[in-house]
């Protein structure tokens, strides 16, 4: 299906807004850097001499702290919204989100396990060896593995006779979420006050851990789904006709399901691993896109990546400036900005969408 002219206008506007927000977000915070200074810092890095004067401090803040953080925000926002859009298309259910198939629950459980038992674990020589290898990123890697394990488990539970049954998958997701939730609760019960604070902050999400290393670590895990998922948009459009109809149109529905689950888990698992749980983006961004421009999956998938990146960049900016020099957990902001926007669009489009 072709991207209509309305959809094209929305995509271009999103792209322009995204550039604006990247510059705003990179420039604002405890230390102000003007857009023209940002421009000359980037040029300076590329070897072209500066046109606008900036000082060493601004250069370092931008290059070491701000810019990787902005890029990380873009990647995570895109990953969450894109996976949400793909899963909603796959489940043909607007309430599907990455949390539903156990990705977030598995990540939470493994993160809480790590936070609470880190002190005990650190004493063992084997763990010291592993930590020596992966160092600071132990929590991220364990979280990523946790999210992959649970989503694989949910996926296995939903298979019968070599086919993936979508209803079973939803039910298995609910069951695994409940189980992981209970175990997380149990571990939290034994946590000390300091650990509890860590757990709370982790579960509200933050981009505070951003560095070029984290950016590079998750880059492939987000870029591959960003390239691959929009290529599946035609199949996802056909899937809206029903599984049997899609299969009659020559689409290998089962392969499509596996591709979407694997790519979404990749994107969301890595995002959750570095930034904690950021709710709402994956659920609501695709809805906003649909309400604004229609149901063509190609538009929704591409648009969701951009709108998710936009929402997260904007939210991170607010998270840093609202209570500066401290910062708010980003998950609070995404929900605080996103919900009113969502409700506004919901009311505005209620009439038009009554048939859908």
């Amino acid at each position: 299906m072709k991207i209509s002219s309305t959809q094209r206008v929305i995509l271009i506007s999103l792209f322009l807004l995204l550039i604006l927000f990247v510059v705003l977000s990179a420039g604002n915070g405890a230390l102000y850097i003007s857009p023209s200074q940002i421009f000359s810092i980037v040029l300076h890095k590329a070897g072209i001499n500066e046109m606008v004067i900036f000082d060493e401090g601004q250069y370092n803040v931008f290059w070491v702290i701000r810019f990787p953080r902005v890029i990380l925000g873009l990647l995570i926002g895109a990953a969450l919204a894109l996976s949400g859009a793909a899963l909603q298309g796959l489940f043909r259910n607007p309430l599907a989100d990455p949390g539903l198939i156990g990705i977030s629950a598995g990540a939470s459980l493994s993160a809480v396990l790590m936070i609470v038992f880190l002190s005990t674990l650190s004493a063992t020589p084997y763990f010291k060896y592993v930590e020596g290898l992966i160092g600071y990123y132990t929590l991220n890697i364990v979280t990523f593995i946790g999210s992959c394990v649970t989503s694989l488990f949910v996926f296995r539970l939903s298979r019968s006779n070599g086919k993936t049954i979508v209803t079973n998958m939803l039910l298995a997701g609910i069951a695994i979420n409940a189980l992981c939730g209970a175990l997380t609760g149990l571990i939290t019960y034994y946590a000390t006050d300091a650990e509890l604070r860590n757990i709370t902050f982790w579960s509200l999400g933050s981009l505070g851990g951003a560095s070029w290393n984290t950016v590079l670590t998750i880059l492939p895990f987000v870029l591959i789904p960003m390239v691959m998922l929009p290529r599946l948009s035609k199949s996802l459009n056909a899937l809206s006709l029903g599984e049997r109809e899609a299969s009659n149109l020559g689409i290998s529905v089962d392969r499509l399901k596996i591709q979407i689950i694997v790519l979404s888990t990749m994107a969301v698992g890595s995002a959750v691993a570095v930034a904690g749980i950021i709710v709402f983006v994956g659920l609501v961004v695709p809805h906003v896109l649909r309400m604004m421009g229609g149901y063509n999956q190609r538009y929704i998938l591409i648009g969701s990546s951009m709108a998710g990146a936009l929402l997260l960049t904007g939210s991170d900016l607010l998270a840093r400036v609202l209570v500066a020099p401290a910062e708010l957990p980003i998950g609070i902001i995404t929900a605080l900005i996103g919900t009113p926007v969502f409700i506004w669009i919901l009311i505005k489009h209620k009439k038009e969408s009554q048939f859908i």
Binding site: M1, N161, S240, L241, R244, N248, L249, Y295
Partner: protein
Amino acid sequence: MLQATNISYTIGSKTLLNHVSLQARPGELLVIAGPNGAGKSTLLKIVSDKVRLDIGCVTINGKDVMHHSPKELAKIRAVLSQSFSANLPFQVEEVIMMGRYPHFEECPNDIDHTIVQEIIHELDIKHLANRAYATLSGGEQQRVQLGRVLAQIWRRENDAEGTKYLFLDEPVSSLDLYHQQTVLQTASRMTQSGYCVIAVLHDLNLISQYADNVLLIYQGHTEAYGSPAHVFTKERIKNVYGLDVHLIKDTVTGQLLIVPDTTSIKTNQIITNKSHDNCNSILVNRTLESI
């Protein structure tokens, strides 16, 4: 040619099809008929899709259907299902264009657009073309879905591929008198231009009007197979449907008319038949979901 040999299909302990065979040639309109729960939709699913069978096999154009790739199959056969989603969030033209999906990668080309227009013309749905699918009535949606299915296998001049197949599962179930006729005439025109059409139909009069051959199945086995005039006898209809009928030859068209004799229906008989049907159709729906 499509050939199904010795098809048996069992789910749990219930035998849904028992050694059923059929063959359909290019230019033929074959109708599968029978009472509710007889196994019609199961049979249509088996001949139109890749279904792993314990007994029997289906070949399309001389090649076992299991050896066709899904893409290959999508270009030579299209299936109109009995139930379709009522709230697709797309325009009518976009839904019809979905039928062209097996033929293009990213964007439809001029031929695809021309075909969509030809189909809109063929089905006389110009007035619906720019409407949202979800706002159409059930009958209009059924015709649009037929349009999508036709687009999938629509043949253009100097198109040299082999026989193409159209499978229709109760294509006129939501249509009014006029559109029942236009849709079956479209199917009939398709056969004249070399397509092979296999349809499940309930209305015996429509069958005798349009079908070249009828496969009458009852409780999973072949009750009769041949031309409508040969298959529809008073005794057989009584035996299969449990209903006395009068067979009348229409004086104007010469067509065979099958008129139910309502005096033969007893109240308690309707009730038992009905509950029997419900059980069967629930079972069949479950089967179709699982295969």
